[in-house]
Amino acid sequence: MNFWNDPLKVAATWLEGIFTGWGMDAVLAHVLVVFLGVLLLITVLMVLDIFLVWIERKVVARFQDRIGPNRLGPFGLIQPFADIIKLIIKEDTTPDGADKVVYNLAPILSMMSVLILWAVVPLAPVMLGIDLNVGVLFLIAAGAIGTLSIIMAGWSSNNKFAMIGGFRQVAVMVAFEVPMLAMLMIPTIFAGSMNMNAIIEAQNVWFFFISPLAALIFLIAAIAELGRAPFDLAEGESELVAGFNIEYSGMKFGMFYAGELLHAFTFGGFWSILFFGGYRFFGLEQVSPFLAILILVIKAMLGYWVIMWVKYTMMRIRIDQMLGFNWKFLTPLSFALLLVTALMNTLLRGAAGWLFVTGMFLSNVVVGWIALEIARSVAHKERERVEGPKKVVEAHH
């Protein structure tokens, strides 16, 4: 076994050897090594998170025709460190009447719900936290903890704006979990497993080409889950000031903010894992695990970029429209798509590869087209109801 082929295992065996050499119990040494591995992963993620702040600010600046941070260091790369110093030395305020324990626990849970997701992210064929056979559901379970953290923050702040923001965010997260779960079932159907690694291994053809509609609905649900524009009602500045995190200052606010950025990056990663082949890219992942990690990070960054692109070019939608959009359009559509996919998968199971891909792709297009036609006719009727029948404009006027 060579370090360049399986670095984690080699490093772990080496460390365990050292620890047992000191006279440590073998089980204890193993637990300690696993703990160190988790610590390493979290540290790398948090350092990456610092640079995500810079990336986010640079990208939003470009979208808004600005330059972005460019004063500190090359390309403004030192800027996030200045931000962190500012956040740390800011006064740490707790509002009167706040529920202190819950108030302080909420940012920690928020960050935790993001970091815990990386337990199931396969970075390379041989590098992953835990090979969970319910990896896909784990995504939703971690989201549940995130939802909990937001309702805790909203309630414990003793502030009406925070409370309303928390309510809105939770209503959105609970609602959009339904289409997201349905869309997570589609890669599961194709791969025949809920295991993340198995889903990647099954993608000889990216699932995006087999089920583009599923990828799109997953992205919409993910953006809603993240609470980013056009679904950022929870922090609608003009109506709620800042939403659920209004009372948080200093690093506690920083935890929510960093958590949101890392969450967006993580969902970019999951989007690429579930629909774009994860670490696979024309067999390059077999060359070296480090190359596989690089491919995954590039794909995750592209996914993150798409999420940012949507955020900075779309306007905010009203809360009732957003929930109506989910319950009346996205949820029925995702269930219809799930049914069609399951049926087509059974019909085409024995077919040749190209026939399977084409059939699936076409069925997706048909389902999407029917959904859009229904939505169009409903919207048309609604407009007629509100505005009255269309007036015929006279020709000689």
């Binding site: 969970l132 319910v134 784990f138 379970a141 309510f167 939770v170 609970v174």
Partner: protein, 169 residues
């Protein structure tokens, strides 16, 4: 004592402690949050029993949906969320006796079972619990009927809820 037993003891105590807090704390929101802790402890115990699917579903359904619904319902009730009345009613001693008797009865019944004092056999490698569960839930030879009946029941509840909440114009 093995590592698994230590983890089991810690989380069993954690689950019981938070369950106790659910019924003793006076703040309803805190009670709901302690309930979340209890449910989380149960999820950990599922994990220790190699039931990963149950553990994840426990978190998704109970913490992600039911506990959140509880918190919503509590928040929509009253501003103060606190009562100053006694937390016990006159029949507390009868409840205590029933609880102790139930526990004793369960222990007594389980002691007659041959598997009570055995250690569980290790799960063979490559054993796919989820596909087994899926097969059992959809195979006519196993549990397809109860599964479908439960689905119809839930659907009926869903339709009923929509009907009750529907605002006739």
């Amino acid at each position: 004592m093995t590592g698994t037993q230590i983890i089991f003891l810690i989380f069993a105590l954690f689950t019981l402690g938070s369950a106790l807090m659910v019924v003793t704390t006076r703040n309803l929101i805190h009670a709901a949050l302690w309930l979340v802790a209890t449910l989380f402890g149960v999820a950990v115990i599922y994990t220790l029993l190699n039931a990963g699917f149950m553990a994840v579903v426990q978190v998704v359904v109970y913490i992600g949906a039911i506990a959140i619904l509880f918190i919503f319902a509590v928040m929509l009730t009253r501003k103060d969320l606190r009562d100053n009345v006694s937390q016990m009613n006159k029949n507390w001693w009868a409840g205590a006796i029933v609880a102790v008797l139930t526990f004793a009865g369960l222990v007594f019944t389980l002691q007659g079972w041959s598997g009570f004092s055995k250690t569980a056999a290790a799960v063979p490698s490559g054993f796919d619990a989820i596909s087994q569960l899926g097969d059992k839930l959809t195979s006519p030879a196993a549990y397809v009927l109860p599964f479908e009946v439960a689905s119809v029941l839930l659907l009926a509840a869903l339709v009923g809820a929509v009907y009750v909440a529907f605002n006739k114009k």
